[in-house]
């Protein structure tokens, strides 16, 4: 194991400052600082607040990661950093920091794709990825279905959300129901007490002529808000648990149905979940049920690794080093809309 390179990973695409250390497929450190609490009263991530927090947290988070792994900066063999997609100002703090560490430590630097890193992180828990795999990545920032023939070099986008990310829909529905931001955990908790079939909310883009792998959550979000407002106008109590459970069911239903269909259509028998919404208990349960029925092996990292972190970036970096992919050029920057076809740049 010691002969495999030690890879330091940086993640700053949204509100989490993540610094991870990985050797091969072994997770050595996963240090995280978050500005989540500072965004709460705004009901969403404020880019400038996130960027300021990244700068403050950067060096202390690196120190925590090195201490956690029991190594020094001089032991690092390669550095990986999220180059996109994400919030430009936030990405640039991580990119600049990673470039400086790489220059100072004289090690190669890999600018990597955040979405591919969400897939790579599973290797830290479940070993080498089966290729090809299908990946379903759902968070507050993204909702994507990917075909992964070769994680180091070849990832294709099958579909994505045409409006809101799944996590955004959770946040907005939580707001309608008077729950705190981020909305995922409180909706999951409330839904546990509710009836998922109480209200039949719409399933976006599931018609026969709709794009088979694209998602739409805007109509669902609006339908939930209208339903709740109608109840309130009529002076009736809002059955919060039932609304939460029915909304969550609609999201989980669409996501898993499309993921399983993608596997079937492409003859792929491995599905990887990732992103913060993959921590949702109903999504995990329904994915397990439908994958089992379809003969698909489901791989879901632990919730801690599903959300944004530095370990996932280090994991992808480790994979790139092992595959002999060329490091990034010295003029690496950030690309807020980096396409998934660019696993590294």
């Amino acid at each position: 194991m010691a002969d495999q390179p030690l890879v330091l990973g940086f993640e700053t695409s949204c509100d989490e400052t993540g610094v991870g250390l990985v050797r091969g497929h072994t997770l050595l450190a996963d240090a995280l600082a978050t500005s989540m609490a500072e965004h709460e009263r705004f009901g969403g991530v404020v880019p400038e607040i996130a960027s300021r927090a990244h700068l403050e947290a950067m060096v202390p988070t690196v120190h925590r990661a090195l201490a956690e792994a029991g190594v020094t900066a001089g032991d690092v063999d390669a550095i990986a950093v999220t180059s996109g997609p994400g919030l430009t100002g936030a990405l640039l703090v991580g990119v600049a920091a990673a470039k400086a560490y790489a220059l100072a430590l004289d090690v190669p630097l890999y600018g990597v794709n955040h979405l591919a890193a969400h897939v790579a992180v599973d290797e830290l828990q479940h070993g080498p990825l089966a290729e090809p795999s299908i990946a379903l990545l759902v968070s507050g920032g993204h909702s994507s279905l990917l075909l992964v023939p070769d994680l180091a070099r070849d990832v294709e986008s099958l579909g994505r959300t045409v409006d809101d990310a799944a996590g955004e829909a959770f946040d907005k529905v939580a707001r309608v129901l008077g729950m705190p931001f981020p909305g995922g955990p409180p909706i999951d908790r409330a839904a546990a007490e509710g009836d998922p079939s109480a209200i039949r909310f719409p399933r976006g883009l599931t018609g026969p002529r709709d794009a088979p792998y694209d998602f739409s959550f805007s109509g669902l979000k609006t339908a939930v808000a209208r339903w709740v407002e109608a109840r309130e106008r009529a002076g009736e109590p809002v059955p919060v648990a039932d609304v939460a459970a029915s909304f969550q069911e609609a999201v989980a239903d669409v996501l898993t149905a499309k993921a399983v269909r993608a596997c079937r259509d492409h003859g792929v028998d491995h599905l990887v979940l990732g992103g913060g919404v993959a921590a949702n208990s109903r999504l995990r349960a329904l994915a397990e049920e439908r994958c089992a029925k379809a003969g698909i092996v489901l791989r879901v990292p632990s919730p801690r690794l599903c959300t944004d972190n530095g370990a996932m970036v280090a994991a992808l970096g480790s994979r790139l080093v092992a595959a002999g992919v060329a490091p990034s050029a010295p003029d690496l920057g950030a690309d807020s809309s980096l396409p998934i076809e660019m696993v590294s740049r």
Binding site: S51, L55, A96, A98, A104
Partner: protein, 213 residues
């Protein structure tokens, strides 16, 4: 003492190497001023490698890092500050932050740079170079700017309605501004950018704006 100096507070990033001594003698060994606009993150580390190559030195030869803390457009400003912090951390070097305006021009003067939104960053200085007022961000009409006015001339005509003598951040200026900290490292302040403005962020005024939005 070999010092690496950086600044990304203006559209021209600066990276320089200088030999500094306690006696106040600074010899600039290499300097690159790169018109980088909003591409500071792309171009800063290549500029640092470039000045090291120009001087025939390596990272291992450095004794300290000095960086401008702004004021300046936030995203670009942070690139320089986090780069300085990370380089210093990786090499175990002291790092000192200075007001970027202090590193523009010399002597009695007013320094102005572009703060966007029809505003300016500015500061005034005495003949011995010490800062008298600022750094501040204001609308030009709200402030009196003592002569001579130096700094970024590109936006001066329409925003100040007057001419500005061109002057930029320099390696020598950054070291001059950092002299007290270099002489007494225990006097170093925290590496916090001079933002001078709060983040743009307005809390939602209505809680249930979902169906209206």
């Amino acid at each position: 003492m070999l010092v690496l100096a950086l600044d990304t507070a203006t559209p021209t990033l600066v990276a320089g190497l200088a030999d500094w001594s306690q006696h106040g003698v600074t010899q600039v060994l290499a300097e690159r001023a790169v018109p980088s606009g909003t591409r500071h993150a792309e171009l800063l580390t290549p500029a640092i490698s470039g000045v090291l190559d120009d001087a025939g030195l390596t990272m291992g030869d450095l004794d300290a890092v000095v960086t401008g803390l702004g004021p300046g457009p936030f995203t670009g400003l942070r690139v320089g500050v986090v780069t300085a912090a990370a380089l210093a951390d990786a090499r175990g070097l002291p790092v000192f932050g200075v007001c970027s305006l202090d590193a523009i021009g010399s002597g009695a003067r007013t320094v102005v740079t572009d703060a966007r939104r029809r505003e300016i960053y500015w500061a005034t200085y005495a003949a011995d170079g010490s800062r008298l007022t600022g750094p501040a961000v204001d609308k030009p009409a709200d402030v009196t700017l003592p002569e001579p006015v130096v700094g970024d001339p590109t936006f001066a005509a329409d925003r100040l309605g007057r001419s500005v003598t061109p002057a930029q951040v320099t390696t020598a200026g950054l070291l001059r501004a950092a002299a007290a900290q270099l002489a007494d490292p225990s006097s170093a302040g925290p590496l916090v950018p001079l933002y001078l403005r709060r983040p743009d962020a307005t809390p939602p005024t209505t809680i249930k704006a979902v169906t209206q939005a």
